[in-house]
Symmetry: D2
C-alpha cells in the first residue's frame, strides 16, 4: 500500500432515512454505495475538483471497481459517518479507501475500496498530469 495523501480522513455525517431500509428492517446493501458516493463527491468538491468543468474539457473520472465489506447493519434512526482517504495505484488509478462508522460509539459498519480511473476522450490517462489531483495522490 502506498502512502495515503490524506492522513486525517475526510468525514461526513449522515442519518439513516427510513425509505433506505428494506424488508429486514436494515439499510439495503446497495444504499451503502450511495453513502460512499455522496461522501466522495463532497470530499472532491471540497478539493475544488469540479466534475462538470472537467467533463466540459472532455475528462471524466469514473469508477472501475468497487469492493464493499459489510460487517454490521445500519437501522432506522441510526446516525453514522463516512470517511474518505485517497492514494494512487500506478499512474492510472485513484484509490478511495472508505469506512462507515455508527455513531456515537464509532462501531465499524462497512469498509469500501473504490477504484477510479480518469478518461480523456474515453482513454485512461496519467492522473498526476491534472491540476488539483496532486493533493489526492
Amino acid at each position: 500500500m502506498e502512502h495515503s495523501a490524506s492522513a486525517i480522513p475526510y468525514e461526513l455525517e449522515f442519518s439513516v432515512r427510513d425509505y433506505e431500509c428494506d424488508l429486514q428492517g436494515i439499510v439495503n446493501n446497495s444504499v451503502y454505495q450511495n453513502y460512499y458516493e455522496h461522501a466522495r463527491h463532497q470530499f472532491l468538491l471540497g478539493k475544488k475538483i469540479d466534475f462538470a468543468k472537467l467533463h466540459a474539457e472532455g475528462i471524466d473520472l469514473i469508477v472501475s471497481r468497487v469492493e464493499i465489506d459489510y460487517k454490521y447493519s445500519l437501522r432506522s434512526g441510526d446516525i453514522f459517518k463516512v470517511t474518505v482517504t485517497t492514494r494512487k495505484e500506478g499512474h492510472l488509478r485513484l484509490i478511495f479507501e472508505q469506512d462507515i462508522f455508527k455513531l456515537p460509539e464509532n462501531r465499524l459498519v462497512s469498509h469500501a475500496k473504490v477504484t477510479g480511473v480518469g478518461l480523456r476522450k474515453g482513454r485512461p490517462f496519467k492522473l498526476d498530469t491534472l491540476p488539483g489531483f496532486e493533493q489526492l495522490l
Copy 2:
C-alpha cells in the same frame, strides 16, 4: 373531462423487486412514482416521441403536478401492471391518467393523475403545435 385519445390504455407489466420494499414489508410510496414514470416513458417511446431529440431542439416535457391515491399495498413477489391513458387539458397541459393493478386478479392498487407541461426555452407552449403530439391529445 375531455375525451381520452387512447381508449384502450397502454399497459406494462412489472414485478416487485425486494429492494423496493421498506421496513413494513410493502413497496415504499415513492417507488410507485418510479413505476408510473417508467410506464409513461415506455408509452411515449412507443409513440416515437423522443425526449433526447426534443431536448436537443430546446423542448422539454416536464411534470408539474402529481396526484397519487394509494388503495392497496404491493408486496415482495407481487406481479402487477401499470396503465397509461392521455388527454389534453387546455392547450398547455397533457394529462396522464394511470392505474396500477395487481395481477392476476386485477385488483386496483393505486391511481395517479400526472400533469405534464411542454417548455420551449423554458416557457410553456401549445402542445398541439408539436409533431407527434396529436396522437396523445
Copy 3:
C-alpha cells in the same frame, strides 16, 4: 382549512446527493417524495410518536394520498429545507402540508399535501383517541 396545530412549521435541512439527479441533471420527481417522507418521520420522532411501538400494538399510520406540485428544479450541489405542518380533516385523516425551499434564497421549489390515515387492525379509527396525536391535530 382547519386551524394548523403547528403554526411555526418544523424544518429539516438537506443537500442534494448526485445519485438523486437524473439524465436531465435535476433531482428526479420521485425523490421529492423521499425528502418529504424523511422530514415527516423526523418530525413525528420529535413528537415522540413511535411507529415501531404503535405497530406492535396493531396500529399503523399509512399514506392514502399524495399531491405534489413541482415549481422549480433542485440540482446537484443545492441545499434546501423541507417544512412540515399538520392538521386534521374530519376524525379520520391527518393532513401534512409540506414545502421545499431552496436555500439560502428561500425559493419555493415544491409543495405537497399528504393524507395519512390511522389503521387499527386494518380499519380506520378516530385519530384523536390516540395518546400523543392531540399535538398534531
Copy 4:
C-alpha cells in the same frame, strides 16, 4: 475455484428505467447492485428457497462482501440480462458469480462476486446442513 453447481447460469432480462440513470446519462453504479440482488432473489425463489420461511425459523442469509467490476455503461433504453451461478467456499460461504450482458450483442457490462453467509440466531453455520442448499453448493 470449486466446481460450480450450476453449469448453465440462470439468466434474467431487464430494461433500464430512466430514473436509474444519473447526471452523466448512464445507470448509476449503485443501481447495478439492485439488478444483481433482484436476479439472485429470483434465482433462489426458483430453487424454492424461501427467505421469509427461513427467517421465521431464525435463519438469515446475508451478504458479507460485494466486488463489482464496471466495464461498460448501461444507458437509457438499453436491454440487458443478469446471470447467476453459485458455488460454496469452505463450509460457511456461498459465492454468487454474476455477470451483466447488454443485449442483443451480449456485450459484457459488469461482473460481480457476492459472498453470502448463513446466520442461525446471529452465528454462521454450515450451509450444507440446510435442506435445499445442496443444489447451490
